[in-house]
Subunit: 325 residues, 2 copies
């Protein structure tokens, strides 16, 4: 199958938002008056970001989800995306599954494929996503002040737990494993929450490398420190809500490590004034997303992780997952 036939078969759809559909040298886009475009790129590599055995439908979902998660962290509304795809060969069943997962998520967020590139090569998926945010309103990493609450959305640590099961380092009963595996393979980008938090949150970041590592970016960009409660964070694992999974969960230290530094969560961490707790909870309710208050910012720099009784835990054990580490 040729490159053009591949695009026509799997990726050509009627143009909606873009003045041009897939197929000219460039896609043409314009944000509405008073809006800025928020742009992010994420590249997914086999063995690094997904296992070779992953269901292609979930992979299509995840490739877009990790990009939408960056828009969510800025509070932007998704508009469209570019897809660049290197494939070792064209497997039709794989392509159909990949396109199905990709477009299901794209449609759910009204985010249109506007262009891209396909080539032969080791499997690599690079998506660049575009969203729209009122000029000057985007949630940044740099807006936190001392004395604010630190919140996270949804669930933390399950993706890493699933990875450890795949690696054979840990075992879970089937229901618990499927739950954790779904969190690893099909994360939920918190787009609605991010948009609701515009004007409420003072800073935000999406969690891809692990809470401890990513939260540090907020602290450095904002010039503040933070204290977070390890066991509140460890309580954010989705498997805890699954009876069979919870019963089989490993010891607390392992749970803490997964939730604090496991990575691949694609949740939001954000700060907001303590006076705005009810507003934050309303944002969560409106966007049908759970949120958990895990700590607070401090004027003293650095990140302190507090264990039982508020005693600081040695944090070298929870350094972020680094793609070149």
């Amino acid at each position: 199958m040729g490159e053009f036939e591949l695009i026509a078969r799997y990726f050509k759809r009627p143009a909606r938002r873009s003045p041009l559909g897939v197929g000219d040298d460039c896609a043409l886009l314009a944000p509405a008056p008073g809006m800025q475009l928020a742009v992010s790129s994420d590249m997914l590599v086999e063995g690094r970001h997904f296992l070779s055995t992953v269901d292609p439908e979930r992979l299509g979902h995840k490739a877009l989800a990790v990009n939408l998660s960056d828009l969510a962290a800025c509070g932007a509304r998704p508009l469209g995306f570019m897809l660049a795809l290197a494939l070792p060969s064209v497997d039709e069943a794989w392509m159909q599954g990949f396109a199905r997962g990709l477009f299901a998520l794209a449609d759910a967020h009204d985010c249109e494929l506007v262009g891209g590139d396909t080539t032969r090569g080791p499997l690599n998926i690079c998506i660049t996503v575009f969203g729209e945010v009122p000029a000057g309103a985007a949630l940044l990493r740099s807006g936190a002040s001392a004395g604010e609450d630190i919140w996270v959305s949804g669930n933390l640590g399950d993706a890493r737990l699933a990875l450890e099961v795949f690696r054979g380092r840990y075992a879970l009963p089937p229901a618990g494993f499927e739950l954790a595996r779904a969190r690893m393979e099909a994360p939920t980008p918190r787009v609605a929450l991010g948009r609701a938090l515009l004007g409420v949150a003072t800073s935000a970041i999406d969690l891809s490398d692990g809470l401890v590592g990513d939260l540090r970016h907020i602290l450095e960009a904002s010039g503040v420190g933070a204290e977070i409660e390890a066991d509140v964070v460890a309580g954010c694992m989705a498997v805890l809500a699954e009876p069979e999974g919870a019963a089989a969960l490993p010891e607390l230290a392992f749970r803490r490590a997964c939730a604090l530094a496991g990575g691949d969560d694609y949740e939001l961490a954000f700060t907001a004034p303590a006076a705005d707790r009810d507003r934050v909870r309303r944002c969560a309710l409106e966007s049908n997303t759970t949120v958990t208050r895990i700590g607070w910012t401090t004027s003293a720099p650095g990140l302190r992780i507090l264990g039982e009784g508020g005693v600081e835990i040695e944090k070298a054990r929870f350094s972020g997952f680094d793609h070149f580490g």
Copy 2:
């Protein structure tokens, strides 16, 4: 070296156009009032788009050049780009060379790095470029009418000639080889010409897969046919201007094949009314680019390649280079 240190060392520069430099979840961009954003992505894979032995400085240049060429084909002014990079390892000398070539071309076009992603994986370079074009004015593939001139910019066929030398299928003396090799490894995106052609050209495309294959996209999108003169096209090879290279050039059939279907040229093909020949030549002069009139569009569909005495040449021999062929 960690991902963040790598970004800081090689890719962090003071922000200029983008409200945010490299480093938040998203880059923020807005075209000026009345302008649209033109967006294009190209992914480069080792062995497919470049040889493993290529000078990293030239590779940095080429990775951006092939993207700027898409902006040129729409007549857009470059604004910024996202860089997603998968690297098997971090080689500092390689990174320095790559960044030097990349930023030299970026600076020459006032095109700012606004964000991206780095990861470990088989070498893959994916750039998404943004440009600005007056709303509704972009050069498209679909605007040609019958009876117009067909033009190409610059030189055709040298990149393929160099590839055939690398493959050992052909030999050139050193000066001719270096000239052809430079065309393959460091193509010149025709940005100034594309911008000058706004309001003059009726359609345009950038030549990446070979003239015959790419021109067909204009013909199909515009609903016209074309006749082009094989030996005028074959006369566009840069090595013809290099005495030592010209003397050693292969037989006409091989030159024709390189120029008509060699690929990797990153020149523009465009159409314009015959009455506007002087305007086209002025655009070329202003943008310091050579242009060559290679044929004309016809109401009869299909592409005819004319040889000596206007006799049609069997065109199956000149089908475009297809990345999945």
